[in-house]
Symmetry: C2
Subunit: 381 residues, 2 copies
């Protein structure tokens, strides 16, 4: 049984004020070609089909068009879930009809964890949901974090799961495990946003969406496909790909990547203005790429962005290396990372940076009380 | 062949700050019951399924639920078009899948005017579109009004229409004809928003949406079903119903109404505060209805809205009969209606009421020029 694992299409994404829809269309057409070549038994899309709950209409039309090509024209079953960027309710519309054509779309989490069975493989669909939603749905007041929510849902799945069959979980979550856990730790103070990779042990393969790099975790069976395209300059050095999985009837699988190639890459460039505007330099460059340019010049420059855009039309962001505000930002960010501060100190720092009012003793007391409560709650889990 | 004609559901409608979704759900459940009883061969929904292009999520869920009950559970084909309140693109999503279950949803106007054939009847779907959209689609620069757009589209339909078969047009437009034409004339200066009923002559029946009263036109074959519910106090005295049509193979039909009954009516009440708050009075009243109350008292009253809400919890709007602003409004409205003014005079009056700046000679000249152009354009049709 062969399936393709992809995720994080983010249709309708706006990057530095530029809609990515045409780039997405280009790469999705390549994707449709890959589906045509590979002839998989299913295409799995692990959430964030759209970039926002109300995507622009051309993104809606693009998704409709691409899914129709895959599902109806190429007769390929689709398994898809909502991610945190999708509106579960809006995405769900019509899903009762779609399943007649083997397009299984799980937008809104329900109490039923029955798998979708395709060619001998059971796909368990777990769309993104806030812990509070899972708490209500499973009527379990002990659920306060994504870790607890996922654990309980997988517990429900295990009640009927047959471990002798190949089982695939399709989820959209921030899963920790392997090398990345340290550097990404800071994104989620208290860890409530994270889910441990060990939870997915019962499954032959876990097809994840949420983190945009296929290398976000290094785990034998729990994998991100990565996003369709680079969606921010922090992803400039990530490779982008889709995963092809071929699974036998015991759940053993082979996994390989295939890449899609947008005509415009997204990347950073660094240099002095004069150098970047020198034909000898730029004639070797792919000048149409989406660029973040870091200028090394000191002192005043006259309208550098427009000069650069004469050569590089898709400069999305310009940064001056030596700017006091940048330095200050960097300093405070580094300070935040290196110091082991208490929660209340972190909050005080945040408060002082964000507001102009004083963080009075009264305010501090009130906040401390809340933090204590939360920490106690977390301790008693 | 039997079909039900309904329109203007306006799911997600907000009336004076109150969401109508629960009332809509109640009445739509009755509608589903009627479909179960009548067992029609099709349900026709002539546009404005939603009240706005991005409806609230519970409206999205309600529409999904109701259409699923009708189409899948009751196995009844559905023919539906987008109205001016719907987003053509958003509503269209998934329609390629729906038609496999005989749910024919036409959101965005396309160049194909092939009918949907159900049980011997041809349904021609004409979703709402601005004249500019039709102009582009049909590549016909002469289209500037809804009248011209509809005429051209019907012309396209006639190229292949078989007049010996029963043909039904499903449209969403402001159609004039019969008794209402005079009073509604004022809504559309220049007439560019209106479509003449005579255009629909080629069809056995025209199922319209847009105007909310089934009595909006009195025409043998061109009919509005009216909206699902009363959606403003101006509709307080309109009857609300759905139409049941039984058509023979020659296109002759019988037409009857069935009504749906919301538990809360929408109506106006008039009286003195003291009287309205008198138990002897209100014990005979349906106090839960959505009410616009016109108070006849003169002079100051202390917090009348909250006093009234003790008895009538769903007062949506309170009006004092004798207020100078009201009188003034009424006078100017009546003046506007009774006088035969030229377009430029009407505009000058409008300008003076809407702005605080002077309608100078320059402005008047510019506007006159525009009006002349438009009128000339209208004359050369």
């Amino acid at each position: 049984m062969k399936f393709i694992h992809t995720a994080d299409w983010h249709l309708g994404k706006l990057v530095h004020g530029v809609y990515m829809t045409e780039n997405q269309r280009e790469v999705l057409y390549q994707f449709v070609d890959v589906v045509g070549e590979e002839k998989p038994d299913a295409v799995v899309i692990a959430g964030d089909l759209y970039d926002r709950s109300v995507p622009p209409t051309d993104a809606v039309e693009l998704l409709d068009e691409i899914l129709f090509k895959i599902n109806v024209e190429l007769k390929t079953p689709i398994v898809a879930i909502a991610g945190n960027h999708d509106s579960a309710e809006r995405l769900s519309f019509g899903s009762s009809w779609y399943k007649h054509s083997q397009f299984y779309l799980s937008g809104k989490l329900t109490n039923s964890f029955d798998p979708v069975r395709i060619n001998g493989v059971n796909f368990y669909l777990v769309p993104y949901a806030e812990p509070g939603v899972v708490r209500q749905l499973l009527e379990d007041d002990s659920i306060h974090s994504h870790q607890e929510a996922m654990k309980r849902m997988i517990g429900k799945i295990e009640e009927t799961l047959n471990p002798n069959e190949p089982n695939v979980l399709v989820g959209h979550a921030f899963v920790l495990g392997g090398v990345q856990s340290d550097s990404e730790r800071i994104l989620s103070v208290g860890g409530s946003g994270c889910v441990g990779a060990e939870l997915f042990e019962p499954f032959s393969y876990t097809a994840l969406g949420h983190l945009h790099s296929p290398d976000a975790i290094t785990h034998e069976k729990v994998k991100y496909s990565g996003s369709l395209l680079k969606y921010s300059f922090s992803e400039a050095k990530q490779r982008k790909s889709i995963s092809i999985i071929e699974m036998d009837e015991k759940g053993n699988f082979e996994h390989r990547y295939r890449s899609l190639t947008p005509s415009h890459d997204m990347r950073e460039m660094e240099g002095y203005l004069e150098q970047l505007l020198d034909p000898q330099f730029y004639e070797k460059e792919r000048t149409q790429d989406y660029l973040k340019i870091n200028l090394l010049d000191e002192g005043a420059l006259i309208d550098p962005i427009n000069k650069l855009r004469q050569v590089y039309p898709n400069v999305l962001h310009l940064e001056r290396k030596i700017e006091m505000t940048d330095l200050k930002k960097k300093q405070s960010f580094n300070a935040l990372r290196s110091e082991k501060k208490s929660e209340i100190d972190l909050f005080e720092q945040f408060y002082n940076e964000m507001t102009t009012s004083e963080f009075t003793v009264d305010k501090k007391d009130a906040m401390s009380e809340i933090i204590d409560k939360v920490l106690k709650g977390a301790g008693s889990r």
